[in-house]
Each structure stands twice: as structure tokens, then as C-alpha cells.
């Protein structure tokens, strides 16, 4: 009898806390049922991190949500088991499930802004789980919340405990969220892209926190991400998902350095960085793959194909800056205290034909304000912007419109910048109509030409934005920007909302267009990798100022400004 117990004890160390077997998840859609996850297996071990890597729609979030019982409406588990300490969670009655979800398995959500209740103090939200499960008093709950806030690195926890979520920054909110999951002292923590919405420097702090907590408490960590760099930092084991199927699983080093599946290889190679600078990236043909069959299009050649900048100056900014007024309070008889904030101090920049100027910085550094000033959408408070040698502020309205044809802006998120009721063709033709270029027939011909140029099927001109994938929508956006044959594109985070494989397609497209059309780019991004991949020169912004400027190689290898070093240090590499 004793020997049996001993055996059980030793196997306990090796047995996972959570064992998922044969899990299938379906969603009810308008056109019937679609499979989100197909026969998924996974194990979570104490003190170890399993990274679930995949792009949007791969089923990685659905898996986590099924374990926690929070599938979105329409989603349901159609087969399989989720064993927690050997007992199937899915077969339990709701009351028993609640003794597992929370106390044994906790979850941290992607967007702490929406995953924290806006009208309850953070202290309450951190303690509520512990209070419900352990019958803790309000006062004890408060002390627990203060302890945990302190543990996750929030300054002055005694005051922070009574604050509301909107009074914290994004990174701090994510810490609060983690504290809330830890309060019930779970053995397993499932984290669904907890750092995706955060700046790189904040991201590395949160990852470090999660690793520390894992080691301190022996947590089994399931970390869902689409980011290879995050995988490299946090994972022990990796599971690669595509279209609801597990394509590959193994240790971190196996998957990152000797991937077996072509899709994993393509994913790794398609991450743009200074290492594969100027080279065409491999592309995963979207929508072709189903399960094991994923089509990967390798680049034709492995040589650098970056365009050669010319000497013509396309845009020049001199001491350009912008202030915003902050209205606070006030009434019709008593104006409020008008504050002013400086979004951009004084920026000088020059971009030549065929050249890409990368602008890097974290949220709130003034990079989008700069973009709007360069495209004439926002008048600078000081300094001047010259397009092809003509000062924008010295022009009449008509002349400005004429000059600004040469400068076009591409937005970050094509699903919100394209009118959902306007077909792709009509969207692309719009600038032509506004500027009175050509007649109906010639515009139509131009639209078809542009669709072809950006690699879309001209037959799809009549499609509406929702009938395209994310990457295709961004192509439509680029085609629209190119309609007036501009000399400069200002690209404001053009690939940030896209999956890695789709991002590679758009990066390839942008580089090809630059070569063919001798375009100048101002490429704004928070991602040093993309910027390093396709820029000729880089400008690093922080707090509305340019802290450093130079060729990519110099910035990456020999940063002069401490902020640049800090940014580079926070970049996670696979």
C-alpha cells in the first residue's frame, strides 16, 4: 500500500496539473458551424511555461476561453476533456467548476482596459475572488489587495487600492489584472496575449514579472501569443497552431531554432528585422492552408532589394512642432483653465526620393502628430513643412491641395479607415474624383491598374472591405494612397494591426512599390524590427523630441542616446 502511494507521489511531479485531450470547439456562424479548434491536446506542468503560438483565427484564444468557460456567444466545445488534477472540468456541475476556475486555474486577459470593470475600485476587483472563495472579510480582502499590488510592482499600494482602472496606465492596469488572478492563489495561470497592447519597454517588464511569479509560486503558465520574441523570452515548451490544428510542438529551442514544419519556419523567417534587412520575406498564402497543408511561398531570391535613394528632396521639415490646448472645466460665464501641452517640440527631417525614413517611438511620443503635419492634415504651431520645395503654410488653399496630391497618408487600421459601404474600386477612385482627374472610363482603368499593382485581383473591384482579409484591406488602402501618383507616402503603423505572415506580404509590397515608383516613405512604427528591415535612416522619438537620428546600422549597433539603448534592449528576438 505504501509503495503504491509512493509511486503516485513521484508520478504526481511528472503529471500535468491540466491535461487537455481531444478538445474540439465550434462556432455557430450564419453559414452553419465552423470549427475553431480540432482535436487539441496540451499539458500544463507546474513551474513551466507553455507558449501557444499562432496568428489570428488559429484557435489559440478559443482554447484558453474554453478551459475557462468564457467562449464568446455561439462558441461551444463539441468533444474532448479538460482534466484538472485528473478530473474532467467539462463534465463537472457548474458549482464544482467554479471551485476550479479561479482557485486552481486563473486567467489574465489581453486588454486590461476592458477586462477590468470601470466602475469598481481595483482593490475590490483584486480581492473579490479571494473573498468569494475563502470567505475573506472586506478588510482582509483589502489588505490582500494591498499586498498583491505591492508584489506586482505598483507604487504606493495603500492609495492605489482605492483607485479606479481608468486612473492607471496600460502597463499598470495589466499588473492589476495579474494581481486579481493571483489573489485566489491558482496553480495555473492562462495569459491571453497580455502584452500585445503594450509598449515594448512595458512589455518586457510585464514578462519579467510573470516569469518571477511563475518561479516564486511554481505556477503552470499557459502563454498565448503571436510574437516570436515573446516566445523566446518566456517559453519552455511551444505549441504552434494554425487554423484550429496543432502543427508543431516541442521545446522552445527545437521550435525556434530547428522548426520542423514549413509554416513555423516561414513564420520565423517572415519576422522583419535588421538581420534580414532589405530582403524579400517568405509569405504564408492565407486561406490556402487547412490543417497540415499550409502553403508557404519562399522568396525568389535572397539578395537585398532595398531601393537606392536619389538626391531629390521630397519633403523637408524645419523646426516643426505642434501644441494642443487642453480644455479643463469652465462654463459660459467663466472660462476654464486652459492648459497647453506640446505633442511635438521641434523636429527637422528630410526625405529623398526612393528613401525610407523610419520614425520609431512608443505611444504618446508624437509620431502620429508628426505624420499629420507632414501630410497637411494638421497645421504646425511652429516651423515649416516643405513639399517639393514649396512651404505648405505660404500657399493658398488651392495651391495646397495641388501640392498635397504628392503626399499621401496610409493609416494603421484599414478596417476602420475604409468606408464599410464603399467598394474597393470606389474607395480607390475617390481621390481621383475629388481632384477631378480623368473621366469615368479612365478612372476605372486606373483603378484596375492600381489593384493589379498592389497584387489584388482586378475582378475584386466591386467587393466591400469586409469581403477582404486584413492584409488585402491594407493593400486597398495602399492602392488608394497611390491613386494620385504621389511622391511620398506617410505610413502610420501600416503593419501593426496585421499578423506576422500578412505583415510580411505588405512589407514586401511596400518595398517593391518603392523600387518601381521611386517613392519616398516616412515609415512610422513602434516596432524596431520592421523599421530596421526596410528603412534607410531612422529617427528615434521620445516625448515629442527627436532623440537620435542616423542610418539603421548605426542606430542598431551603436546607439548614442540612452533612450535608444533602452528601446533596443526591450526588443525581444526569437
Amino acid at each position: 500500500m505504501t509503495s503504491v502511494q509512493a509511486t503516485t507521489a513521484t508520478t504526481d511531479l511528472a503529471t500535468p496539473v491540466v491535461r487537455v485531450r481531444d478538445l474540439s470547439i465550434e462556432f455557430a456562424t450564419r453559414s452553419g458551424r465552423s470549427t475553431a479548434v480540432k482535436k487539441m491536446d496540451l499539458d500544463l506542468h507546474p513551474g513551466r511555461t507553455l507558449a501557444v503560438l499562432g496568428e489570428s483565427g488559429s484557435g489559440k484564444s478559443a482554447t484558453a476561453r474554453a478551459i475557462m468557460g468564457v467562449l464568446p456567444p455561439g462558441g461551444s466545445v463539441t468533444s474532448g476533456t479538460v482534466e484538472v488534477h485528473g478530473v474532467d472540468l467539462l463534465a463537472m456541475r457548474p458549482k464544482e467548476q467554479r471551485r476550479v476556475r479561479g482557485p486552481v486555474v486563473g486567467m489574465v486577459f489581453q486588454d486590461a482596459q476592458s477586462a477590468l470593470n470601470p466602475v469598481l475600485p481595483v482593490g475590490y476587483q483584486i480581492a473579490e475572488g479571494a473573498r468569494a472563495h475563502r470567505g475573506m472579510s472586506r478588510k482582509a480582502g483589502r489588505e490582500l489587495a494591498i499586498d498583491l499590488l505591492d508584489r506586482v510592482g505598483i507604487a504606493d499600494p495603500r492609495r492605489a487600492v482605492d483607485r479606479f482602472p481608468h486612473q492607471f496606465s496600460g502597463g499598470m492596469r495589466q499588473r492589476v489584472m495579474i494581481a486579481g488572478a493571483l489573489a485566489i492563489d491558482p496553480e495555473v495561470l492562462i495569459a491571453d496575449e497580455p502584452t500585445t497592447a503594450l509598449d515594448v519597454t512595458v512589455q518586457s517588464q510585464i514578462l519579467q514579472l510573470m516569469l518571477d511569479l511563475r518561479d516564486e509560486r511554481g505556477l503552470a503558465l499557459m502563454f498565448i501569443t503571436h510574437d516570436m520574441g515573446v516566445v523566446a523570452t518566456i517559453a519552455d515548451e511551444v505549441l504552434v497552431m494554425y487554423d484550429g490544428h496543432v502543427l508543431e510542438r516541442g521545446t522552445r529551442d527545437q521550435v525556434l531554432h530547428a522548426p520542423e514544419h514549413a509554416y513555423t519556419r516561414a513564420l520565423l523567417e517572415s519576422v522583419p528585422s535588421a538581420d534580414n534587412r532589405g530582403r524579400e520575406l517568405p509569405v504564408v498564402a492565407a486561406g490556402v492552408g487547412r490543417g497540415e497543408v499550409v502553403e508557404v511561398i519562399e522568396p525568389e531570391s535572397d539578395v537585398e532589394v532595398l531601393s537606392r535613394p536619389g538626391n531629390d528632396v521630397v519633403v523637408r521639415a524645419q523646426g516643426v512642432g505642434r501644441d494642443f490646448s487642453l480644455a479643463s472645466g469652465g462654463d459660459w460665464w467663466r472660462p476654464g483653465r486652459a492648459g497647453r501641452t506640446t505633442a511635438v517640440h521641434e523636429v527637422d527631417l528630410t526625405v529623398h526620393a526612393g528613401e525610407t525614413l523610419g520614425v520609431v517611438g512608443e505611444s504618446g511620443c508624437g509620431k502620429s502628430t508628426l505624420a499629420r503635419m507632414l501630410t497637411g492634415g494638421l497645421a504646425p504651431t511652429r516651423g515649416r513643412v516643405e513639399v517639393l520645395g514649396r512651404d505648405l503654410s505660404a500657399l493658398t488653399r488651392g495651391e495646397r491641395l495641388e501640392v498635397l496630391r504628392d503626399v499621401q497618408l496610409v493609416h494603421q487600421d484599414p478596417s476602420s479607415s475604409l468606408d464599410p459601404r464603399l467598394s474597393a474600386g470606389a474607395a480607390i477612385a475617390e481621390p481621383l474624383v475629388v481632384h477631378g482627374v480623368g473621366d469615368t472610363a479612365s478612372r476605372r482603368a486606373r483603378v484596375l491598374e492600381l489593384l493589379d499593382l498592389v497584387g489584388l485581383d482586378p475582378d475584386h473591384a466591386n467587393r466591400l472591405p469586409h469581403q477582404f482579409s486584413g492584409g488585402q484591406r491594407q493593400r486597398v488602402e495602399v492602392a488608394r494612397a497611390l491613386a494620385l501618383e504621389p511622391r511620398l507616402l506617410v505610413l502610420d503603423e501600416p503593419v501593426s494591426a496585421l499578423d506576422v505572415s500578412v505583415q510580411a506580404q505588405v512589407v514586401n509590397l511596400l518595398m517593391r512599390l518603392q523600387r518601381e515608383l521611386d517613392l519616398a516613405y516616412v515609415f512610422i512604427s513602434h516596432d524596431l524590427g520592421v523599421v530596421g528591415h526596410m528603412s534607410h535612416r531612422v529617427l528615434v522619438m521620445n516625448g515629442g523630441r527627436v532623440v537620435e537620428e542616423g542610418p539603421v546600422a548605426q542606430i542598431e549597433d551603436d546607439p548614442r542616446h540612452p533612450y535608444t539603448s533602452q528601446l533596443l534592449a526591450a526588443v525581444l528576438r526569437p
Binding site: R65, M68, G69, V70, P72, P73, P94, Q97, R98, R99, V100, R101, G102, P103, G106, M107, F109, D111, S114, A115, L116, N117, P118, V119, L120, P121, E128, G129, A132, H133, F164, H166, M177, G180, A181, I184, S328, G329, G330, D331, W332, W333, G336
Partner: protein
């Protein structure tokens, strides 16, 4: 916070001036002659009496002068004297407790049924209660509420004899049930639907999922997370509906002969008794402004994201 309240009170001054002036003008513009109305159509009044009355009430003064005189009185708490020689403040003092009781009863009924039904419907969409609430509210919205009042009076008052049909002799709650219910019933559909829609919007919010992931019980999640956030717009509507209840009280008090402010203003309009109409009208406006302020203060308490001090 205090600064906000002071600013709001100051801002309500022009509103009060504007509305009282409009009521004043409206009463002034009524066809006919108050003195004749007071004496009765068939009575003859000697020119001397007429002159004496006209002078006492300042009926010959220009409109603006009359208005300013009235306001000056109002400022020191003098609502004036009506054409029968009765102090308007006495009329109000006698009638207001009845109306407040009626309106509050109706208000509570409305809140309980509106929010209750809306919450059940919203928490179990597609269920029996949900279907019944949706169907019943559609029907109710289509029926004018005085029809409901009369039908209620006939069915529950006359046929079944459960409640008195008129007056307040049986006191609260018996005498107030029918009038309050008919008054409440016109607010219930809107309130129920708003509650339901608001809950549906928040039911699948990320923070509700986060609460599920903490293993909280459905009851706790519904009360603490879903209802707490969903009721914010509902509370503001409930506050504003108090104004509608005061307006509705005029008709309901007329139908059920409840001797409240509504009944007083109802009879005063018939008698062209201007001072009473203007007095009660101003009072209703004042109450409405006060309730509005309270609702906005509540909003700040319920939703910490709303900063009252920074709002214009």
C-alpha cells in the same frame, strides 16, 4: 464637487427665469377675462368693482411689469394671492403632500417593475420572461395611458371593488394604488427596455468574462458586474422620468379626483386662475431642476469615470 453644485445652481437661474416667463405669458395669453371667469359667466359686475379688482391684481400693467412684480414676490417666498383671495402658497401647501406621495409611489412601482422585468429579460434573453416583457411593452407603448387609467378604474374599482375609484379618503396605500399604477405604467416599458438593452450590452463584456474566470457565482456576477454597470444609464432615465410623472399627475389626479397639485392646476386652468397656474408651474420646474441636479450627482457616484468638476 461643491464648486460643481454651485455652478449648476447658478446655471439653473436662467432656466428658471425662462420657464416661469413662458408659463406667465401662456396664462396671460389665455382668451377671456379672469374677472368674468371668477364671477361666473352670467353675473354682471359693476364697473367700480371691476376697476377695483383690475387695480388690485395689476391686470392693467404691461406684461413685463406684471412678471417682474411676480418674480420679486417669488424671490421672498410670496407666491401671491389668487383671484378668490386665497394665498397661492396655501393652495400649494395643502396639495403638495398628496402629489409627492402619489408621484413617489408611482416612481417606486415604476423602478421596481421596470428594472426588475428588464433585468430578468436581459439576464435570460430569449426566455419566457424576455418574450413576455417584449410583447407586453410593445402593447403598452401603443396604448394611451389615460385609457389604462379609466380601464383600471372600471375593472379594479367598480367591477372587483378592490380599490376606491376616487379621492384619497382611504389614505395610503389603498387610495393611491390605482392612480399610482396608472401613472407608473407609462414609464415601465421604456425603463424595462433600456435596462434590458443595457444588460445585453454588458453581459459579454471582458470584465464579466474575467469575473467568470475567477469562479464567482452567477448571482454575484449579475449583481456586482452586470447590473452595477448596466444601471448607470437607467438611473439617469429614472431621475428624468420624475418630471414626466409630475406632468402625468395632472391628468391622473383629474381622473381619480386626487386633491394634489395636478388637480389644483387642472381646476385653476379651467377658472383662469393665473396666480395658481404660474405658482404651481414654477414649483414643478424648480423640483425638476433639483431632481436633475441630484441625478447628475448620482451619476458621478455611480460612474467614477465621470468627473463632475471638469464638466462644463
Amino acid at each position: 464637487m461643491l464648486g460643481y453644485i454651485v455652478r449648476r445652481l447658478l446655471a439653473s437661474v436662467p432656466v428658471l427665469l425662462g420657464t416661469t416667463f413662458l408659463i406667465f405669458v401662456a396664462v396671460y395669453a389665455l382668451p377671456g377675462d379672469p374677472i368674468t371667469a371668477l364671477a361666473g359667466e352670467d353675473q354682471t359686475i359693476s364697473p367700480a368693482v371691476r376697476r377695483e379688482l383690475t387695480e388690485r391684481y395689476g391686470l392693467d400693467d404691461p406684461l413685463l411689469v406684471q412678471y417682474v412684480n411676480y418674480l420679486t414676490g417669488l424671490f421672498v417666498g410670496d407666491f401671491g394671492v389668487d383671484f378668490r383671495g386665497v394665498e397661492v402658497s396655501y393652495v400649494i401647501a395643502r396639495a403638495w403632500p398628496t402629489t409627492v406621495l402619489l408621484a413617489l409611489t408611482a416612481w417606486v412601482l415604476m423602478a421596481v417593475f421596470g428594472i426588475g422585468l428588464g433585468a430578468i429579460a436581459g439576464l435570460r434573453p430569449g426566455g419566457v420572461v424576455d418574450g413576455a416583457v417584449l410583447a407586453a411593452t410593445t402593447v403598452l407603448i401603443g396604448i394611451p395611458f389615460f385609457v389604462v387609467a379609466y380601464v383600471g378604474q372600471i375593472v379594479f374599482g367598480l367591477e372587483f371593488g378592490w380599490f376606491p375609484t376616487s379621492g384619497t379618503r382611504d389614505g395610503w396605500p389603498l387610495s393611491y394604488v390605482l392612480p399610482a399604477a396608472s401613472l407608473a405604467i407609462f414609464g415601465v416599458p421604456e425603463l424595462a427596455r433600456l435596462t434590458r438593452a443595457s444588460i445585453l450590452e454588458n453581459r459579454y463584456a471582458d470584465y464579466v468574462h474575467a469575473a467568470v474566470a475567477k469562479g464567482l457565482s452567477p448571482m454575484r456576477i449579475a449583481v456586482r458586474h452586470v447590473l452595477r454597470t448596466s444601471l448607470i444609464p437607467v438611473v439617469s432615465m429614472l431621475g428624468l422620468s420624475l418630471g414626466g410623472l409630475l406632468g402625468g399627475a395632472v391628468l391622473v389626479e383629474g381622473i381619480f379626483n386626487v386633491p394634489g397639485l395636478g388637480y389644483a392646476i387642472f381646476t385653476a386652468i379651467g377658472q383662469q386662475n393665473g396666480p395658481v397656474v404660474v405658482g404651481i408651474g414654477s414649483l414643478v420646474v424648480l423640483v425638476f431642476l433639483g431632481v436633475n441636479l441630484l441625478v447628475d450627482l448620482m451619476y458621478g457616484v455611480l460612474d467614477p469615470r465621470v468627473s463632475l468638476d471638469r464638466r462644463g
